[in-house]
């Protein structure tokens, strides 16, 4: 990687002067149309050199582009890196503006003129491999150090961490002096310090004290092996401090992982907490209701191509409705005839779950469907150099809490909630008070099923949308409900989150397989001791 950087720097020193010169002449030289014509043929030649089989030759072509004084060089390199630099059948180089769907809007690379939409079959991409990708990034990073755009300078400075070599240091020192942005300056200083620390210089070691970036740590551990005992001791001391900090961050990270896994468990289980916990119906098809919610998200995204975010938001009510309707159909069609016969209900709903799975396989496809994650849910929120929280999971965590709060509200504050509680506590009494128990049954089951649909919508962002989606969660859901205490929503929340955290704490040292087994054994033992779960229901209702 360093090789690329030195090369890029070399090119850039040539380019740097011309760029500034260019900026000056640009305003003065607006009439130079014949000049751009000559430029274009040279530019075409540069691009032409990219369209070769060998990756080594492509690498050389990239260097040539960097060395050229064409001000569009950066755009070309970026386009090449993004796979948007393509060629039409008649040999014209085009920039693909949007590569979703079958026809892509394109623009001419040289003139920037929009060329309308083209079929992807008529376009040929200039391919790159990982080595070239690294080379391009380094090249762009060096060019971007001089960019007027602060964002670009930040990314560029970040990229330089651990990649600085001796030749680059004086340039960077100059840049640090001129730099106005705090963050860029910090990163550049750090980048230089990493180089110095690795070279065994005291200044570098001192500058890196307290930095959590992995590159700093590597540099410090190298410095700790330095021949100079003073440097080595200082590096070792900073390293110890950093390790301490990292441990703390790792703990926070594990906690986040646990809460996130827990939130998935809560989402999957909370619908069941209503149908199974409150109504006492063992619904083995609960997982398939989640699957329906996930497929609704997929269908929504198919209906609204290009707007995955909007589709996802619309899927929330749609997924709820689809799953709720399916739930009502199951309740009316099967479960109501099996009231009070749990074993039959279990078998019948298990059958339904298989039917639903195979139905999806036959009607839609046995293959998984692609659900796109919207831009605002991808990536992670960077807290510090050692801790960043993934956004999709954070959204799901928030969503789980909102769903939980909503359900609590419905159960505590609405008439439906009151009726549900009345019917489950004493069906005969509730009926004699004028509550239509059958209607309440339907509504409750629809509510529980609808929440399963919501879980499905959320899961579509985390895992596969396929016929097996539900199967993977049904056991966990029952586990959470039973562990939390049947009939208690708070229990489900606490049980889900704590099982998630326990699982993630165990996983690093026990492995994923063993961690799952340990959790299961723990629950079995717990249920032996407290058969009614964490939060048993109190009062006569519980005896019934």
């Amino acid at each position: 990687m360093r090789r690329f950087l030195s090369l890029a720097l070399l090119c850039f020193l040539l380019l740097g002067a011309t760029l500034t010169a260019q900026a000056q002449t640009d305003t003065a030289n607006n009439s130079g149309s014949d000049n751009t014509g000559a430029n274009d043929s040279a530019a075409l030649e540069l691009l032409e050199a990219l369209d070769v089989e060998s990756y080594t030759a492509k690498g050389e072509a990239i260097t040539a582009i960097l060395q050229s004084d064409d001000e569009r060089a950066r755009d070309w390199l970026q386009a090449l890196l993004d796979g948007r630099l393509q060629r039409t059948e008649d040999g014209r180089f085009v920039l693909v503006l949007e590569n979703r769907g079958r026809d892509w809007p394109v623009a001419d690379v040289l003139t920037g003129e929009a060329l309308g939409e083209m079929s992807r079959r008529d376009l040929e991409r200039i391919g790159i491999n990982n080595n070239l990708r690294n080379q391009l990034r380094s090249a762009i990073a060096v060019v971007d150090l001089y960019s007027p755009n602060v964002e670009r300078r930040r990314t560029s400075a970040e990229r330089l961490l651990g990649e600085v070599d001796g030749e680059l240091v004086p340039t960077l020192d100059d840049l640090i002096e001129q730099e106005e942005d705090e963050q860029v300056r910090y990163r550049l200083t750090q980048a230089v310090a990493i180089y110095r620390a690795e070279a065994g210089e005291m200044a570098g070691v001192e500058a890196l004290d307290g930095s959590l970036h992995p590159r700093s740590r590597v540099a410090l551990s190298r410095a700790a092996n330095s021949d100079d005992p003073i440097v080595a001791n200082a590096a070792a001391a900073s390293l110890a401090g950093i390790e301490q900090q990292l441990k703390l961050n790792r703990g926070l990270e594990t906690l986040y992982f646990g809460l996130s896994l827990g939130s998935v468990l809560v989402l999957a289980a909370i619908g069941l907490a209503i149908t199974f916990g409150v109504m006492g119906v063992i619904n083995m098809a609960h997982g398939e209701l989640m699957m329906l919610g996930a497929y609704t998200t997929w269908a929504m995204q198919q209906l609204l191509p290009g707007q995955p975010g909007l589709a996802l938001i619309l899927s929330i009510p749609a997924g709820f409705m689809v799953a709720a309707l399916a739930g009502v159909a199951i309740e009316r069609g099967v479960i109501q005839f099996l009231k009070g016969r749990p074993l039959e209900t279990l078998l019948a709903t298990f059958g339904i779950s298989l039917i639903l799975q195979q139905l999806v396989r036959t009607v839609i496809s046995p293959l998984n469907r692609t659900v796109i994650t919207p831009e605002w849910m991808s990536g992670s929120l960077v807290v510090n150099d050692a801790l960043s929280l993934t956004l999709n999971r954070m959204v799901v965590l928030g969503f789980a809490l909102v769903v939980f709060a909503g359900l609590m509200l419905i159960m505590r504050r609405t008439r439906l909630g009151l009726e549900v509680r009345a019917v489950t506590q004493n069906r005969a009494m509730a009926r004699s008070m004028g509550i239509r128990a059958t209607r309440v049954d339907i509504m409750t089951f629809a509510l529980g099923s609808g929440v399963a649909g919501l879980a499905g919508v959320a899961l579509s962002q985390l895992t596969n949308v396929g016929p097996n989606l539900g199967q993977n969660y049904i056991i966990d859901s029952f586990m959470v409900v039973v562990f939390g205490g049947v009939g208690n929503l708070w229990g489900t929340l606490v049980a889900g989150l704590s099982l998630g955290v326990i699982n993630q704490v165990l996983e690093p040292w026990a492995g994923a397989v063993l961690a799952k087994i340990i959790v299961l054994v723990f629950i079995i033992l717990f249920i032996q001791k407290r058969p009614r779960g964490l939060f048993p229901q109190k009062g006569r209702a519980a005896e019934g």
Binding site: P366, L391, P508, A512
Partner: protein
């Protein structure tokens, strides 16, 4: 003749209640009835792929592939002047059921050949049945090796045709020094990783602390911790790569987590042995660009035979976006090899075909040839591809020539001394060259062990 005709209707037959008797009769009459049947009856091709359950995602397309190949063969006039007929059964991703269905295909339907199986455990389950009833099974998926059965032809890659070259690519071309071996917890990843660990340590002197091994359950969906561990593993200053034998469904959340935690292919490339075009249809591949896969075929191979195959496949499925993948090519090769062997032998008789097929050479889809070796494995080129944002692979490296499949790994202590050669006079799947003895078939015990897990 009468028995045979009746036995082709299993349901009526079962209800007649003389199942066992006729089964026996059929078995005894096996050879003679076949000779009688040969002239008029169609040749029966059994297809043993799961059409429901967890493996349906991968295996359904293979069923369709064989059906397409049969259709093409029939259009070209059939085989030996007879038409081919597909007999499809659904083992429903249930490993013991694979053995039952295989028995049904061989004993009741009396198929001449079977194309089937995906998972190793299902193959182990079927093994004793095809050996007992002397069937022919073409197995199209890359697998862990350490097996060679008289009745099975392995048209997928053995570890030396996929895993070993892939690791050499990482070391020699990419300069990787640290390896995370991440896999699903079952026989293929465990054996492959055992071979790779031995290979990395013995052949390349990679230290213990530079190898991390991790197993996850089937369909694992919460990868946060493992990906964080991989990230930390890669932050020690040495170029790091992940070698993934993660199976099927679990890949989507794995790759999603990788990209969300900001691990880019340029930092820590993941090379996968079980992720192909089919698996990528369920993923938004934009964040995965640059991650690698090692196969013996990619849909993006630039070759006329391949384009013909893709066109035929798209036409057959009626789906413009249908993709082809490595196990499909393996069936293409296996089917053509079997057809060629039948033509050469002039009969579909199992024993004759089994002898005739060794040495048969047919074109593969990447512009070369595949030959059936005496150990029942075939020669294949090894290709390394980088994932593109359109769900296809860009081939970045390939072996200069084809590699012959090695049934017994050279890097494991027990298997180093074993060879397989089904030609006369050796006819042994596990001949020990040190003490000069043949171990004989262990299919029954292995099936039992695999199913017990």
């Amino acid at each position: 003749m009468n028995t045979l005709k009746r036995s082709t209707h299993p349901h009526r037959f079962l209800s007649s209640g003389r199942f066992a008797t006729a089964l026996l009769t059929a078995a005894v009459m096996g050879a003679s009835t076949q000779a009688i049947a040969q002239d008029d009856d169609p040749i029966k091709v059994g297809i043993l792929h799961s059409l429901s359950g967890t493996m349906a995602i991968s295996e359904t397309v293979l069923k369709d592939t064989v059906e397409m190949l049969i259709e093409q063969q029939n259009e070209a006039g059939g085989l030996l002047g007879r038409q081919l007929e597909a007999v499809v059964v659904d083992p429903a991703s249930n490993w013991p059921l694979f053995a039952e269905r295989a028995r049904e295909l061989l004993a009741q339907e009396e198929v001449d050949v079977i194309f089937g199986n995906w998972t190793s455990v299902s193959r182990k389950s079927v093994l004793p049945v095809v050996e007992e009833l002397n069937g022919l099974l073409f197995y199209p998926v890359q697998y862990e090796g350490e097996e060679s059965s008289e009745n099975v032809f392995y048209t997928g890659a053995a570890p030396n045709q996929q895993a070993i070259p892939a690791v050499e690519y990482l070391i020699n071309e990419v300069g990787i020094e640290r390896f995370a071996l991440v896999g699903t917890d079952y026989v293929y990843p465990r054996t492959t990783n055992r071979i790779l660990e031995a290979f990395l340590k013995d052949e390349h002197g990679i230290a213990d602390e530079d190898i991390m091994v991790n197993y996850t359950p089937f369909g694992h969906s919460d990868w946060q911790n493992i990906v964080a561990e991989i990230r930390r593993f890669g932050e020690e200053g040495k170029p790091t790569a992940v070698i993934s034998t993660v199976n099927g469904d679990a890949n989507v959340p794995f790759y999603t987590e990788l990209s969300n935690q900001g691990i880019d292919a340029a930092d820590i490339p993941v090379i996968a042995f079980s992720v192909g075009e089919q698996e990528l249809t369920g993923i938004d591949t934009a964040p995965l660009v640059g991650h690698l896969a090692a196969w013996n075929y990619f849909m993006s191979v630039d070759n006329d035979d391949n384009y013909d195959f893709i066109d035929a496949w798209i036409e057959y499925t009626g789906d413009d976006m249908a993709v082809t993948n490595d196990p499909m090519e393996a069936h293409y090769i296996g089917f053509n090899m079997w057809a060629e062997a039948v033509r050469k032998a002039g009969t579909t008789d199992v024993d004759t075909v089994k002898d005739a097929i060794i040495g048969v050479t047919v074109p593969n889809l990447s512009g070369g040839y595949a030959a059936m070796m005496p150990n029942h494995h075939i020669t294949k080129p090894v290709l390394i591809g980088e994932i593109q944002d359109n769900g296809q692979f860009d081939i970045v490296w390939q072996t200069p020539s084809t590699v012959a499949g090695d049934a017994w790994s050279d890097y494991l202590p027990g298997s180093r001394d074993l060879i397989a050669d089904w030609r006369k006079p050796m006819e042994c799947g596990n001949f020990n060259v040190v003490n000069g003895s043949c171990g004989g078939s262990t299919a029954a015990e292995e099936a039992e062990a695999a199913l017990a897990e």
